[in-house]
Symmetry: C2
């Protein structure tokens, strides 16, 4: 089954997750366009497996991107346009963030229309 919109696919573990939790500053300041561009650009990188992202009305957001290997994550981290966006993020968009790199060991899902 393909996952519904907003969910990443469910490849066979192991693979890697980058958990990015962030608190936004007030106002857009180019954030919306940049976030969309970064999601698009990430999806074109080697080893990209999917992304899940949401942000509440309080400005706290969690984005989890999934990758085949740690090297894929390191390469995306070094990407020039991503590096520039990261600098903009620190200068303008975020008051605080935490980033965790984790190896997915188990994964499962559930769907109302296919409760298994």
């Amino acid at each position: 089954m393909n996952p519904p919109p907003g969910f990443a696919p469910r490849p066979e573990p192991p693979y890697y997750a980058v958990i990015f939790t962030s608190q936004r500053t007030a106002g857009d300041a180019g954030y919306g366009d940049a976030a969309q561009r970064m999601a698009e650009l990430a999806s074109q990188q080697p080893g990209y497996l999917g992304i899940e992202s949401t942000r509440g009305a309080d400005g706290l957001g969690i984005t989890v991107s999934y990758w085949r290997t740690l090297d894929d994550i390191a390469a995306w981290r070094r990407h020039l346009e991503h590096t520039a966006a990261r600098n903009d993020g620190r200068a303008q968009w975020y008051t605080h963030y935490e980033l965790r790199i984790a190896k997915v060991e188990r994964a499962y899902g559930w769907d109302r229309n296919a409760p298994a």
Copy 2:
């Protein structure tokens, strides 16, 4: 530095993350109270390290809870009240969810007031 509200602490890796991504049904149906109770109950379990949770206006939510060991996660999974809430979740609150268990290998953070 203690993390701001909404962020989990940053213990020394390795530790474990449970990444729960979910799409809510319309309406509350007891969800708000139950979610608050589960977060409170989780925080009292052995090995609990912290939680980060957010949900967008489209009903897509991501909750990441952090735990010391896989055994701690398994014990929380078996907790009777948690099991009951999971059943309610399938019956009423979610249309789809994905759950991933991942070993956090690296973690860092950034704060506007301590950019370091």
